[in-house]
Amino acid sequence: MIALPITSQNISTGEIKTSITPQGDTLIILPLEDAKIILSDLLQYEITDSILEIYKERDSLNLNTITLQKDIITNLSSQNSNLKEVILNFEQIQENQKDEIILKEDVIKKQNKEIRKQKFQKIMGFMGSIILPILTLVVLI
């Protein structure tokens, strides 16, 4: 490649020129405004890449939160069904205790009847033991 000196620096915006220095370096020449645009875009893209990474991280965190919330729902659902079972068990216990009360009340009723009967027998026994000898004596005399 032949080395050419820089001939002109009058470049309009949007225009890019190439020139080769006497030392053989290829120079790409563009207006300062265009260089600013390129640098601005490059830095913005660089930041956009970082933003994208953070969005990905945020997405992952949100996904993690959703999974944890699903776990909470499952956990609460399990607790709920367990408590329902506990309630059913308590209801069954209550029913059984009602049955126990009915049976015990029946026993108490029968025992009360028996006690009344035995009290009557006791009274009759005492009365008989007093009246019968007297009556026998009266009849004999």
Binding site: I47, I51, I72
Partner: protein
């Protein structure tokens, strides 16, 4: 005659008394105390109580897990908050770039372009 009649009367009275007493003191029918039924019901209730205790214990475990999950969510919320702040900073920086670059001279532009290329490589 009278004595014989009296003896008959006493005999009759004694017999009547014995009859009345036998009726009064007849053996009573045994009272059913439902012991088997009551024992069975108590056994069932005991088992249900044990089952309830196990379920409640299970729920305590689930509640502990829930607390751990809630703590984890709180931790995630803190990280999310930090992420949001980072995002805001980057968005602000991105917005500020054109204005900053517009105020730069050619040396700064060249310097920043070189820095970028070094980072890129």
């Amino acid at each position: 005659m009278k004595l014989q009649s009296n003896i008959q009367l006493i005999f009759i009275i004694v017999l009547a008394g014995a009859l009345i007493l036998s009726l009064i003191f007849r053996p009573s029918t045994p009272i059913d105390t439902y012991e088997d039924e009551l024992r069975e019901l108590e056994e069932i209730n005991k088992q249900l109580g044990v089952s309830n205790d196990s379920i409640i214990l299970l729920n305590v475990g689930l509640q502990n897990e829930l607390q751990e999950i809630l703590l984890e969510i709180d931790g995630t919320k803190v990280i999310l908050q930090q992420t949001e702040e980072k995002l805001k900073q980057l968005e602000d920086a991105k917005t500020e770039i054109p204005a900053l670059i517009n105020n730069m001279d050619s040396d700064s532009i060249t310097h920043h372009l070189s820095e970028y290329l070094n980072r890129r490589n």
